[in-house]
Symmetry: C2
Subunit: 140 residues, 2 copies
DNA sequence: CGAGAATCGTTGTATAGTGCAACAAATTCC
DNA sequence: GGAATTTGTTGCACTATACAACGATTCTCG
């Protein structure tokens, strides 16, 4: 077994390489939805509606960036904004039907692509890899 | 154990979330070296000198993007270009002393940050996680 | 050998994504 | 009730990126 330091270097390097390729991959997978818009829409959907500030903190983005992305998604008819009745400063973001449809398509494409990558992997290995990643993500 | 589909969804979502945060994290870690310049310099160093075309294909970037990034890194004195004697179309990119120093500092910062994230993990788990990531990266 | 194809890098142009600062409106906290 | 905080928007600047057209070099194969 390699040393802990070496393993951490590997993790670091592999994750970074993934991050650097993610934008390109996403645009290949679904040209209508960039990595940015896809991930925002997916978060909103997963949360069942959330505010722009939540999106900003989840992805570590400036609120102005999120504001513009949300504006673009709204203009495309993929989400709608409702003023939060409990706090009229904020808005609740929700995917529209069109947004959900596009998101489902994008997710399907992604699943196909990811699945292809794991054909050689046993169910156990896939499950363990997922576990490790979830654990890693949860600690951040 | 969760189903294969569920695990793949988890992998997909966690990796994407990581990618979306990577830029911000990198700029926090070492403000002098963005994720972009860091990863290019690191690749050049790891390969012991390589060409712009290699960088482009490794990170799935257009050659024009790489050309500009390399130009910027050269202007900063972090790498130098030598015409490849075996193929005068190409150039061999190498980190300068200044580049290596900065890269070492950045790697140190990263290692500290990543190490902190794994304090709860056993050596075995870290090693296995690294193995899975390397395997994943190798298949792409 | 030689002409056409391929490769490598540069530059012009356009666009997306991002952050910071200043702002307005609503809310919360003494 | 007034100060501080939160939420989102807008103006501005800059970075990262892609695509297309180009020049220089190398490769292919007839």
């Amino acid at each position: 077994m390699p040393g802990r330091e070496t393993s951490i270097d590997t993790i670091q390097r592999e994750l970074t390489a993934f991050a650097r390729r993610a934008r390109h991959k996403a645009s290949q997978l679904h040209p209508d939805l960039s990595l940015v818009t896809y991930s925002i829409l997916d978060l909103i959907n997963e949360r069942g509606g959330c505010r722009a500030a939540d999106v900003a903190s989840h992805f570590m983005l400036d609120k102005s960036t999120v504001s513009r992305q949300v504006g673009a998604l709204e203009k495309l008819g993929l989400l709608r904004r409702e003023t939060d009745p409990d706090d009229q400063r904020g808005q609740i973001l929700r995917a529209t039907e069109a947004g959900l449809t596009l998101l489902r398509e994008a997710n399907e494409q992604r699943r196909i692509s990811f699945t292809a990558r794991f054909t050689d992997w046993s169910d156990e290995d896939v499950a363990r890899f997922a576990q490790y990643l979830a654990r890693y993500g949860a600690e951040g």
